[in-house]
């Protein structure tokens, strides 16, 4: 139970106490009692009437009515202002006042209140009740006013109640003043209650408003939460797709994995992917769902490539640039595609490489158009991975070619190295030969010892060979030297032998014999040996001592002749020692001249 209600009850009890006292003194007068009963009834009516009202204005009006009626008052007014809550608002209720009076009253409210209420007054204080005709002398109050009650309700919440005279023109008596006072207190209570109720209602309304706005905020928060969840899901999907694609190096793998992930993320029943390059036979295709194999076979065909490219062309200015993807949900471009799709991502890796991802119906989530940016991001991820895989392919191919080239080059280098070594060798050989030749050329002009040696050697060899082979060859060593030499005899011995009848032969050529000879010698040159032998010796005794002389440095005529004589049978053939020179040296006579 609110304080105001409790206060009302307390007032009621107070009144009831009065009644009890009145009843105890009822014996005094019935009329008094009746009057009191009347007043009480008034009080009760007012109270109960006022208790049921909420609106302060209604309360004031009802109060005025209820008070003025039973008391028979002509005029009355209630001025209520709450300078804290509504500083400029003045609630004025009046009955029976003239237009000008009420206007003046209204205008003078502030002054009145300042006069009548001091700051800090509150409800605990009892209302001030003034009565008398003098009250109307002020400029603000109407002249007819006879009773004035100043009732503080709150700190700046004031109530001013004024009544005029009653019908009889009389001022209210003390009982009436009492009544008025009680009524005014009641009024105050009711007003306070009404104020409180008002405040409660206002607070309620505020609360309801705040509630509503909180609900709205909550809805927004929930919506934002849902949005965040969706975004989180999309980001996670992007991350997972990107990480799935990151390790792949083959374009086929990239296509398969991406299609699988994409269909999972968008919850599509089936889908296909086709990447068309410059080469009509090298379309990369992947498909999932029912009839996946047939779809792949259809997409790899050249007609499918034409269809895809025609679909790209039909996009006109929405045609994707390099590394860009466009989501298309309109049936127009989709009709060009080789296989049906509910929505398609048209993408281009570069000028030569274009493709499309066809998506079947979604099993969960909204239309494809709602997720356009998300699908675009997924497609970008895919395009990067695809571009990377293609580059990796290119790099691998280039690497292989490089390796082959390298091997070729290594072989060529080896060949060149060996060729160069050969060339070096040949050059060295040539240099050597040239130096030899130069040496020879230089030598051509010189005389070398070896030339002499060779000439001599050749000459000797040829001579010996010819000599050996020729019929007119001569013995190298004169046979006269080889055959046993006849005995030598000295000049005196020879002289003795000659004196004993021996023969002396001069074997030298004739001119030598003519020039100088031993006297008595027979000239027997080898040329005419036989002739002379026949002339002089053939008839002689073979045992006759024969002495032969006639040698020079270069010839052994004496030996040859002696050997011939020996062969012819002469036994005593001797050679003169030292020849003619020995003979002469021994002092023997020598003949000269012809």
């Amino acid at each position: 139970m609110t304080d105001e209600k409790r206060a009302a009850r307390t007032a009621t009890e107070t009144c009831q106490d009065d009644l009890a006292r009145a009843l105890a003194g009822a014996e005094r007068t019935n009329a008094l009692l009746d009057r009191q009963v009347f007043r009480l009834r008034t009080l009760y009516e007012v109270t109960s009437e006022l208790a049921g009202l909420d609106d302060s204005r209604a309360i004031c009006e009802a109060f005025l009515l209820l008070v003025m009626g039973p008391l028979g008052l002509v005029s009355g007014f209630v001025l209520h202002t709450d300078r804290d809550a509504h500083p400029d608002e003045v609630d004025m209720t009046q009955r029976g006042l003239e237009e000008a009076e009420s206007r003046r009253l209204r205008d003078g409210v502030a002054t009145l209140f300042d006069k009548l209420f001091h700051p800090g007054s509150d409800r605990a204080q009892r209302p001030i009740l003034l009565s008398g005709a003098h009250l109307g002398r002020g400029s603000e109050l109407p002249p007819s006013i006879r009773t004035l009650a100043a009732v503080p309700i709150g700190r700046a919440d004031h109530l001013l109640v004024g009544f005029g005279p009653n019908l009889a023109g009389e001022e209210p008596g003390p009982d009436e003043l009492d009544l008025i006072q009680s009524l005014v207190v009641n009024l105050r209570t009711s007003l306070a209650t009404a104020r409180a109720a008002e405040t409660v209602a206002r607070l309620n309304a505020d609360l309801a408003r705040k509630n509503e706005s909180l609900n709205r905020s909550l809805d927004r928060v929930l919506a934002a939460q849902a949005e965040l969840d969706r975004r989180a899901f999309q980001l996670r999907s992007l991350y997972e797709v990107a990480s799935d694609l990151s390790g792949l190096t083959l374009p086929g793998d990239v296509a398969d994995v991406f299609l699988l992930d994409l269909l999972g993320v968008v919850s599509a029943a089936d889908g296909y992917l086709a990447v068309c390059g410059a080469d009509p036979g090298a379309t990369l295709a992947a498909a999932r769902g029912a009839n996946a194999d047939a779809a792949v076979a259809a997409l790899v065909a050249p007609e499918a490539r034409e269809a895809v490219l025609a679909a790209h062309v039909s996009l006109k200015d929405r045609l994707p640039h390099a590394m860009q993807a466009v989501l298309v949900t309109e049936p127009g471009p989709l009709s060009h595609l080789p296989r049906p799709a509910e929505a398609a991502l048209f993408f281009a890796v570069d000028r030569d490489c274009r493709g499309v991802v066809g998506l079947g119906p979604r099993l969960a989530g909204g239309p494809y158009g709602d997720d356009a940016s998300f699908l675009g991001s997924l497609a970008t991820s895919f395009l990067s991975a695809l571009a990377r895989a293609r580059q990796y392919e290119t790099i691998t191919r280039l690497n292989r070619e490089l390796t082959e080239r390298n091997a070729e080059l290594t072989r060529t280098i080896a060949d060149l190295t060996s060729a160069r070594q050969e060339i070096d060798l040949l050059t060295a050989a040539k240099e050597r030969i040239l130096s030899l030749v130069r040496g020879e050329l230089l030598q051509a002009g010189k005389v070398r010892l070896v030339d002499f040696v060779l000439i001599l050697a050749f000459g000797t060899a040829l001579g010996l060979l010819y000599n050996l082979a020729s019929p007119s060859g001569i013995p190298l060593v004169p046979p006269a030297l080889l055959a046993p030499a006849p005995a030598a005899v000295s000049a005196p011995e020879a002289a003795t032998l000659l004196a004993g009848g021996g023969l002396i032969i001069d074997a030298r050529p004739a001119e030598f014999h003519q020039a100088e000879r031993i006297p008595g010698s027979i000239n027997m040159p080898s040329a005419i040996f036989d002739f002379v032998y026949g002339m002089h010796l053939s008839t002689r005794d073979p045992e006759l001592p024969v002495i032969v002389y006639g040698r020079t440095v270069s010839s052994r005529h004496d030996l040859e002749a002696a050997q011939k004589l020996e062969r012819l049978g002469h036994v005593s053939v001797r050679v003169l020692e030292d020849g003619l020179d020995g003979w002469r040296a021994a002092g023997m006579p020598v003949e000269t001249g012809p």
Binding site: L462, Y466, L481
Partner: protein, 159 residues
């Protein structure tokens, strides 16, 4: 024509002429002596300068040496060596003739035929002329040399 004559009159040309002459001379001289070795041996013996034991050997070898040198000269191969040999032989022959002239021996030269005119100072003069020609050849001969000709092709290679 004049160019050729002029070429002939140059030292190299004269040397060439002398070389060919001497070469031909010695080839011709050698041929008889090769065939009649015994006569040649007798001729050598008649000079009374060579020891008895060496006469036959010399008679066998000397003509062939003359032939080889003569051929070398004609062909122009190792000219200087050949002409040096021939010069040496000429010196030896000249000395032998001079010695025998001083002895007064009336032997025949033995250069070409066995039976020839006896040696005289004209023989010595002749031999000296030949020696001078040999000297000329030694100093100036440069044309038509076989060893140079053989090696001429190699000049192209930069020798």
């Amino acid at each position: 024509m004049t160019m050729h004559l002029r070429a002939l009159l140059s030292p190299a040309g004269l040397a060439l002429v002398c070389r060919l002459y001497l070469g031909g001379l010695f080839v011709y001289a050698a041929m008889y002596k090769i065939n009649y070795a015994a006569e040649f041996a007798a001729t050598i013996a008649s000079y009374r300068l060579v020891p008895y034991a060496m006469v036959n050997g010399l008679a066998v070898v000397l003509p062939w040496v003359e032939l080889v040198c003569g051929l070398l000269l004609v062909v122009g191969f190792r000219v200087r060596a050949a002409i040096s040999t021939i010069g040496l032989l000429l010196v030896v022959f000249t000395l032998a003739i001079v010695v025998n002239l001083m002895r007064g021996a009336g032997i025949s030269c033995g250069c070409f035929h066995t039976v020839e005119d006896p040696i005289s100072w004209w023989t010595v003069a002749r031999d000296l002329i030949w020696l001078a020609m040999a000297a000329l050849v030694f100093r100036y001969d440069a044309l038509f040399q076989l060893d140079r000709a053989l090696l001429r092709g190699l000049k192209e290679v930069g020798a």
